[in-house]
Amino acid sequence: MSSIAHATPRRRHGEGLKALLWMSPWLVGFAVFFAYPLAATVYFSFHRYDLFTLEFSGLDNYRYFLTDDRAWISIGNTLWLVAVMVPAQVLFGLAVAQFLTHLKAGAGFLRTVFYLPSLVPVVAGTVSFVFVMNPSGPVNQVLGFFGITGPDWFGDKDWSKPGLTLLAMWGIGNTMMIFLAALLDVPKHLYEAAAIDGAGAWRRFRSITLPTISPVLMFSAVTGVIYALQYFTQAMIASRVASGRTDSAGSTFVPGYPELSTLTLPQWLFHAGFRDSTMGYACVLALVLFAAAMALTLVLLRRFRAFADDEGGGR
């Protein structure tokens, strides 16, 4: 009896070590790529840090954040993109995929057409897009043909973010392909049964398609939100091209052209850290970005779970 009581904790101890050993690759990765950056970011956020010298500054960086109206403008712009660009991307991607599943002929060709823009390098694609949508460019010429005066897309603060949204919708290829795969995976017999029961197209979409593809929708929404929160390159390139001003020596380029309307939080973070050498403050902005990403991800996951439970999917 006593020998058994003695052996159990030892065995448990051995199993625990074995489990740790098997988990070690993940644990090392977690420590290096998550725990350390997180701890370092929190640590630096309480310091004045110019990449070379480190000096404790208490809450100065946090106080500055509260009064930095450019940071708040950039947060507003980023949230605008999350609220408008992400749904637009998901809905457009879903609509295109749905359209392609119903095509009898030419589906392969159209799939390629819709997917191709996502293969274009981001910088080249953005420069081309700004050119195509310049005030006297092809898009406005087409609009003019229909009697519509096209806006100065990337030169007008009210149209710059819608312009970026159109750019994101143009490059919808990857999302579309995921939706297409999910839609083709929906069991046909469910549609047939519903049709026999007299369900219309909308009812079939609402009660069969959506619940079945909800995990894919959730994935697209969550990755779309993360992508929008990190939105950097396209906004920066579009604003520079549209402003006609380079960031060359002796020239002063104010990010977010026109009138700060394309200034996103990652741009301001980069600016604070690498342009102004206020890395401690950049860490505060990084923590804000992290908190926003976590909060929005959690909200989305809960909403989707509730939706799936309501529909009885729950996959």
């Binding site: 070379f52 500054s57 005030p135 002796g250 990084a286 990403a293």
Partner: protein, 447 residues
């Protein structure tokens, strides 16, 4: 499944959001810690290999820099010099921070000099300058100013830029270039051509702050405006020179009509292309740097143009003849593997008349020592001579070094853009807000 996905999503978002804030380390011998061959025979310097990072990128510029370095190679055959072209400031900072610094690095902008000097990214050259008995008065005061910060000289001027007025002779209709802002206004109105709808066809001078080189730094010397107080805080809001200049600018913008001017500005070709509006006869007068001479020679050879100092404020006529200057800087980064050999190259490139003249003749920037400015080998026509005169003028100045130089200029530029659009109702309050932004940032940086 969902829990795993949640964990993955959180880890991914956290890792991507936070990895910008990790630190690095550095370490290598400091300048002056090695043997001291400087000032003695060139053969006394031990054999070494040095890596030089520079910003020149076009084939012509790269060759020009190679030619300038050729003299050093001949003088110090035991030193191997490896040149790396097209390097930006961010790369220099990151390399030093990551312990992979080059031996010599140069930058086209002076905006980071204060930060580099303060943080020690570039080594203090003062000990070796004293050691070698270099008389810095051979370099004009403005260039000395933009290459040091707070008594710490961490860079040397390689070549300089000077800013002045370019005018298209055909569009000037026989008029002489203006010497005051009032004359500039008068001439602008006289030379501007509009169509029947009031749209601008040819602008006399484009006053918009969103136009190419029309940034506050380039105007400050000829309007006598001050950037900072003695304690480093912003003087923009309290200096009447800025207010006077902004009111002058707004009056001229309003004369054009902001919308008309903006529409015209947006219709113009790119600054760095052969479609530049000055080449195309769209603008009669522009503020630009001396390098435009070389670009005109390459891209608009037939253009008949002249150059002059930029007009001065009406109440400060003595400032006429001066202008803004800044330029290429070069130094020895922290962590350089062969700092002594690196310093010898920096010294050679920045003080040797032949090296400066060779580089200036090729890239058409202003050489930075008084001897090189007067060297018989320096190629100069009347248009280039204007910029040599501006550079050497006693009232020529630069923007004082500040650890937040870029931020401060952007803050002011952002305000100026709003001002010309007419969205600033109270100039004093607006400038006070600019001061506050600059001062808050200064405090954040520990200034």
């Amino acid at each position: 499944m969902r829990r795993r996905f949640l964990t993955f999503a959180m880890a991914a978002t956290a890792a991507t959001a936070l990895t910008a804030c990790t630190a690095g380390k550095e370490g290598a011998p400091a300048l002056g810690s090695g043997p001291k061959p400087s000032g003695s025979a060139s053969s006394a310097l031990p054999a070494a290999s040095i890596e030089v990072w520079h910003g020149f990128s076009t084939p012509g510029e790269v060759k020009a820099f190679e030619d300038a370095v050729a003299g050093f190679r001949a003088k110090y055959p035991q030193i191997t010099v490896k040149l790396v072209k097209g390097v930006q400031d961010d790369q220099i900072t990151q390399a030093v921070r990551g312990g992979k610094a080059p031996d010599v690095a140069s930058s086209f902008t002076t905006d980071n000099v204060a930060q580099w000097c303060k943080s020690g990214t570039f080594q203090d050259l003062t000990p070796v300058i004293k050691q070698d008995g270099i008389d810095l008065s051979v370099i004009p005061e403005a260039s000395r100013a933009y290459t040091e910060f707070d008594g710490r000289r961490c860079t040397m001027p390689l070549l300089a830029d000077a800013y002045g007025l370019y005018y298209n002779k055909a569009l000037m209709k026989g008029e002489q270039p203006p010497k005051t802002l009032s004359e500039l206004t008068e001439l602008t109105k006289k030379l501007t051509v509009r169509d029947a709808d009031g749209n601008i066809k040819v602008a006399g001078f484009i006053p918009s702050f969103q136009y190419y080189e029309n940034v506050p730094t380039h105007f400050a010397p000829t309007i006598g405006a001050k950037w900072y107080n003695e304690d480093g805080t912003s003087a923009i809001g309290s200096d009447p020179a800025w207010k006077g200049f902004l009111r002058w600018q707004k009056e001229l913008v309003d004369w054009y009509g902001y919308d008309k001017l903006n529409k015209f500005r947006k219709s113009l070709g790119q600054e760095w292309s052969a479609d530049h509006p000055f080449y195309k006869g769209k603008v009669a007068m522009v503020l630009d740097g001396e390098w435009r001479n070389a670009m005109i020679a390459n891209e608009a050879e037939e253009l008949d143009y002249g150059t002059a100092p930029f007009p001065a404020a009406d109440d400060k006529p003595d400032l006429y003849g001066g202008g803004f200057t800044s330029g290429t800087v070069i130094g020895v980064p922290k962590g350089a593997k062969n700092p002594q050999a690196a310093w010898e190259l920096v010294k050679y490139l920045t003080t040797d008349t032949q090296a400066l003249v060779t580089l200036s003749n090729a890239v058409r920037n202003v050489p930075t020592t008084k001897a090189s400015l007067e060297a018989p080998g320096l190629k100069k026509d009347a248009n280039f001579q204007t910029f040599i005169d501006i550079f050497a003028h006693p009232r020529t100045s630069t923007i004082p070094s500040s650890v937040n130089s870029s931020f401060n200029q952007e803050a002011f530029q952002e305000f100026m853009n709003q001002w010309e659009q007419g969205s600033v109702k109270d100039l004093d309050a607006g400038l006070a807000e600019v001061d506050k932004r600059i001062n808050d940032k200064l405090k954040l940086s520990g200034g």
